[in-house]
Subunit: 327 residues, 2 copies
């Protein structure tokens, strides 16, 4: 067992700006928590939005990870590779009791709200948040569990059937994962994006289309999934969805956007916000489908090279950028 209260670790700490601290204390797990040695962590657009002030957060950033459990009161976890759900509910409110910890008003969220995140060599999480990673899934795949679970969560929030014409707007890393999740419904699926190269990554799973305003797609889709987080895309979604169709909002918007909701009223559109999802369906998908998610990795950097990692992650057209925390 590591003497976790005396040793130090590297950590990317955010307090108005991000910096690498090399002497951050390794956290001491609470009674219900495990200590996890982080192997790989993913940089997410939400990290950028937090750095831009989307929520007031001070602490270690990062919420996508895979690691090895080093301390845990449930001994079967020790030494195992694990991923962890990011919301930590109060456990006593009516929402927590209904299994909706991710909507608990008192919740903490890993690397987002009130809880140190995973851009560090060690992290603690409640044991009940942990899932052991099956052997068939590599670390490079397992690190996608959190965003892939968010993608699958769309299927919890919206019924999508084989007959539905579905469009996904946004060919970035989130859109790519959503393509893979939604394609399991066998619906008539189209990815609309701006970059040929990224659209190619999705061609095994759906039709693809370069965003071109001259195309007449008005009223062409039953369901439109907006995952770019910009107002022009939201307006476009309202245009291409049919009357009484559904728009899924699956993105973090950094600031206020300007729009006129009258279009939604006139077309009697349904909008559905969708956020985090449970990890089990994502792990099951990775184990059973054997789809190679590592194609979505742009580059992996050591934590010491965090500055170039973040520049790469947030540059136009980047796919998933990973941080390697420990071996």
């Amino acid at each position: 067992m590591i003497p976790s209260n005396s040793r130090k670790m590297k950590a990317l700490y955010f307090d108005k700006k991000l910096e690498l601290r090399k002497d951050y204390p390794i956290p001491v797990p609470a009674k219900n928590e495990a200590l996890i040695k982080v192997t790989l962590a993913g940089i997410c657009n939400t990290d950028k939005e937090i750095m831009n002030g989307y929520v007031p957060f001070t602490g270690i950033l990062g919420h996508e990870f895979v690691g090895i459990v080093t301390e845990c009161s449930q001994l079967e976890f020790i030494g195992k590779r694990a991923v962890g759900e990011i919301n930590i509910g109060c456990g006593v409110c009516s929402l927590c009791k209904r299994g909706m910890q991710n909507h608990c008003p008192q919740r903490k969220t890993l690397g987002i709200n009130g809880k140190d995140g995973v851009f560090s060599e060690y992290v603690t999480l409640p044991i009940e948040n942990l899932l052991i990673v099956p052997d068939e899934i590599s670390d490079e795949e397992a690190v996608f569990t959190e965003p892939l679970a968010a993608a699958f969560n769309i299927l919890q929030n919206v019924e999508i059937s084989k007959q539905d014409r579905v469009a996904i707007i946004g060919d970035g890393k989130l859109g790519q994962l959503i393509v893979r999740a939604v394609s399991t419904t066998l619906c008539d699926l189209t990815l609309i994006g701006k970059q040929e190269k990224k659209l190619e990554l999705a061609q095994d799973f759906c039709k693809t289309m370069i965003l071109n305003e001259s195309d007449d797609l008005e009223n062409s889709f039953d369901i439109v999934i907006e995952c770019t987080g910009n107002d022009a895309a939201l307006l476009f979604a309202g245009n291409i969805v049919r009357p009484k169709g559904t728009i899924v909002l699956k993105s973090t918007y950094a600031g206020q956007i300007k729009f006129n909701p009258s279009l939604w009223v006139r077309k009697e559109i349904r909008l559905i916000g969708s956020r985090c999802g449970h990890f089990a369906p994502a792990l099951q998908f990775m184990r059973e489908s054997r789809i190679d998610l590592t194609k979505l990795i742009d580059k992996t950097f050591l934590i010491d090279d965090w500055e170039i990692a973040f520049i790469t992650a947030f540059s136009k057209g980047a796919l998933k950028v990973l941080l390697k925390l420990t071996k």
Copy 2:
């Protein structure tokens, strides 16, 4: 039969500004249309939004009315009091064939888009749009059929059960009609508004509450119906609805509003736009409930006094203002 192609009538014509024309030709009904002598017409907020440029419209304004059928190939209509649904579909597209004329991309809409409206002594409408007004319903009630049908349409778009905690934001004329429609579900209903006097008008049907931002209503409602059309109310709706709850958008927004949809994503809220409704449920409600809708009439003006009528209708706190077109 009135020689409709030679006689003139009074009409409130909108072409960038509204004016009373006294020599507008009485319209000649097409083969599938009836000619209706308008008795009473209601001024709606949508009329204001059109005058403010919400949609490009030139012609006779107005879409809420009750009148007497004077010409019609179906003789059973002649001399009868009638109201009329306002959307006129192309009749051949897939939406029209599925009974969704109100979403036909080629549709005309009475006094709103491509079809002269009802602020005039006579109007034409397709016979299939007409419904005869039962004797139990007075003209002063029947003129509410269109907005009341829009209120009942919410129940078509959202399932509301007895167990649901429902809030309506906005105590104006639309909110008042929605209160009466939604109260038929026996749900736990609260009207939130700004004016004691208007809230009193709803007290037979629901709880009422003065909008006061110090009240802690966060996450208190399963369903929130926003019928004010302003951005502060939309933000408030997102605040008071529970996670995974529903917001109904039931208003015309004149311009762009500034908003951050992240709240909807974070709380996984559903937003549902709701527009026009079928008239039959509204007429049935008026006939059977015997609720006195005439309490919602602010004042009735002759068409010659249209200027003061519009000033009254669009003054803060006004209820329904009617125009008397013919006796």
